[in-house]
């Protein structure tokens, strides 16, 4: 295992220390290292709905990189690929509460759902109204009685951005939750891994992949994908990711969409743009208009080589909220 780390046990803590030091104008870490969370430097915004997200670490910049004006109020980084426990989620929820209630944005994994649920109960007991929106945009997983449901992946970034803008313009808790639900309902994602990633505490790759194999339909935790196929061209791989998205979302002529090509951490941006290029061409061939684009490493799996494609169907309100100013360590415009 080759990493720029010290003790594997301290990876998350030290990384967050560096992160808050580098972005002290935007974010602070909570006082208690046992209940690690990151929140806006200025404290909760009174009267504004607070947005809290979190989950296992290793997906940076998600979530802490999206704390700031127009997006999250607090983020809870758990151990690498492991949902945080209820205590730090509760602490973050308190820090984010400006009296108008708090929205939990939770990626659909058993651990995340259970720990956020408990934290919400505890927050409720302390008089904070909490609503949760669970993201599940990954079309690689079938949503059926026979699975834990679809996973929350890259669409979560768009939920955080757009719901964050809704909260910033003064929407109440129900309205912000409705927007977040709407974004999730209109977003679909699918990912591919060219290489595995290595979790620091495990010290070895999360799966073994031959030199000519790739994993299609991976999640963001180094788990194996739906199937393993021979290495193919970027255009072919793009089709394998995009087709199920387009089908599941029912993209049709005249649709305005946001096309988000996300890197898994170890793929150069030049390759992401090659994927973007073909995905855009294919969407346009379907008669859709790619009205907004996002290309880069936003929700990663450590140093994994690979990418995911997310398509979000836009309406005028979602577009306006996406365009609204945002100022966070990892996403910034208009400010």
């Amino acid at each position: 295992m080759k990493k720029l780390i010290n003790d594997p046990q301290n990876v998350v803590a030290e990384s967050v220390q560096g992160f808050v030091a580098a972005h002290a104008d935007l974010v602070v870490a909570g006082d208690n290292p046992e209940e690690l969370f990151v929140s806006r430097a200025g404290g909760a915004v009174q009267g504004k709905v607070g947005l809290v997200s979190g989950g296992g670490s290793g997906h940076e910049p998600l979530h802490a990189g999206f704390v700031g004006v127009g997006m999250l109020d607090a983020a809870v980084p758990g151990p690498v690929f492991t949902s945080p426990t209820p205590d730090p989620i509760l602490a973050a929820t308190k820090a984010a509460d400006g009296g108008a209630g708090v929205l939990h944005i939770v990626k659909n994994y058993t651990g995340d759902v259970l720990n956020f649920e408990t934290a919400a109960e505890l927050a409720d007991a302390e008089g904070i109204t909490v609503r949760a929106v669970v993201t599940d945009d990954d079309v690689a997983v079938q949503d059926s009685l026979y699975t834990a449901g679809r996973r929350g992946v890259a669409g979560t970034v768009l939920v955080e951005k757009i719901a964050g803008a809704a909260a910033e313009r003064g929407d109440d808790l129900d309205a912000v939750a409705e927007i977040a639900t709407r974004v999730n309902a209109n977003a679909r994602s699918m990912g591919v891994a060219l290489t595995a990633c290595t979790v620091p505490h495990a010290g070895k790759p999360s799966f073994d992949l031959g030199e000519d194999e790739i994993e299609i339909g991976i999640g963001i935790h180094g788990e194996p994908g739906r199937r393993r196929i021979p290495l193919a061209s970027a255009d072919e791989i793009t089709d394998l990711l995009l087709d199920p998205i387009v089908e599941d979302l029912g993209v049709s002529s005249g649709d305005q969409v946001l096309l988000f090509v996300n890197g898994m951490g170890g793929t150069p941006s030049s390759e992401l743009y090659i994927v973007y290029r073909h995905a855009r061409t294919q969407l346009e061939a379907k008669g859709a208009t790619v009205a907004r684009s996002l290309v880069g490493n936003y929700i990663t799996s450590l140093e994994m080589q690979g990418a995911s494609i997310t398509v979000l169907r836009l309406d005028d309100e979602l577009t306006a909220l996406y365009d609204a100013p945002v100022h966070t360590p990892a996403l910034r415009w208009g400010l």
Partner: protein, 219 residues
């Protein structure tokens, strides 16, 4: 032959659990790498290490009942393990703590606390037997303990029967497709792999029986 077990056993079980989880950390990580995200061994190891720290903290009153021990385990796992296993094991121990409110536990008491644990896991995780989760270990374990109790056996015998059943239950997950947890994303690819949570459950119940037997033989 002792037919009740008490706080000494419970404390010894916890210590042995921490040791066993530490020892099997990498094995559990590897099982979870195969069909999950490779953190199960790390998560439990972090949790049980924290339990030990609490248990040995001179500032907290030592637990007086089996229930006290389980409660300490429950709250500590809940606040240190994270992931799916944290809330599930946490709830299991919390319900077991409520079920074991006396100073000692007999065979029926063992069956009761295992039933409570199963109830807690199912309440949180909604899994059934055959879904390839820790439920596949705990459910037969509780049933086996009940059978021993109903047949007039001792607490220690009930625990050993539970441990044996849990191990068989864990092994029974090998050929299954998962329907809950992360392994469910894999579809058919999960076949041939043991569920890490079922494996850790069997491990914990085995050291529970070991702790009871060694207490007994020390008498």
């Amino acid at each position: 032959m002792a037919d009740v077990i008490g706080v000494a056993w419970a404390t010894q079980w916890v210590r042995a659990s921490a040791a066993a989880v530490g020892e099997h950390r990498m094995e559990l990580i590897d099982l979870d790498r195969a069909i999950g995200d490779g953190d199960h061994g790390e998560n439990l190891d972090r949790g049980f290490k924290a339990v030990l720290v609490k248990l040995d903290n001179p500032d907290t009153a030592p637990p007086e009942t089996v229930g006290d021990v389980f409660k300490l385990v429950a709250t500590t796992l809940m606040s240190t393990v994270g992931g799916a296993a944290g809330p599930l094991y946490g709830t299991a121990y919390l319900r077991a703590a409520k079920a074991a409110d006396g100073a000692t536990v007999d065979a029926a008491g063992v069956a009761d606390l295992l039933d409570a644990a199963v109830g807690g896991i199912v309440a949180r995780g909604k899994a059934e037997v055959g879904d390839k989760t820790m439920v596949d270990a705990w459910t037969p374990a509780a049933a086996a303990a009940r059978e021993v109790a109903d047949g007039g056996g001792t607490a220690t015998q009930a625990l050993r029967a539970a441990a044996t059943a849990a191990r068989t239950g864990a092994e029974s997950t090998d050929p299954l497709v998962a329907r809950k947890g992360r392994a469910s994303y894999l579809g058919e690819r999960a076949i041939g792999h043991r569920d890490p949570g079922a494996q850790s459950s069997a491990l914990l119940l085995e050291v529970a029986a070991d702790a009871a037997e060694s207490a007994e033989s020390a008498q």
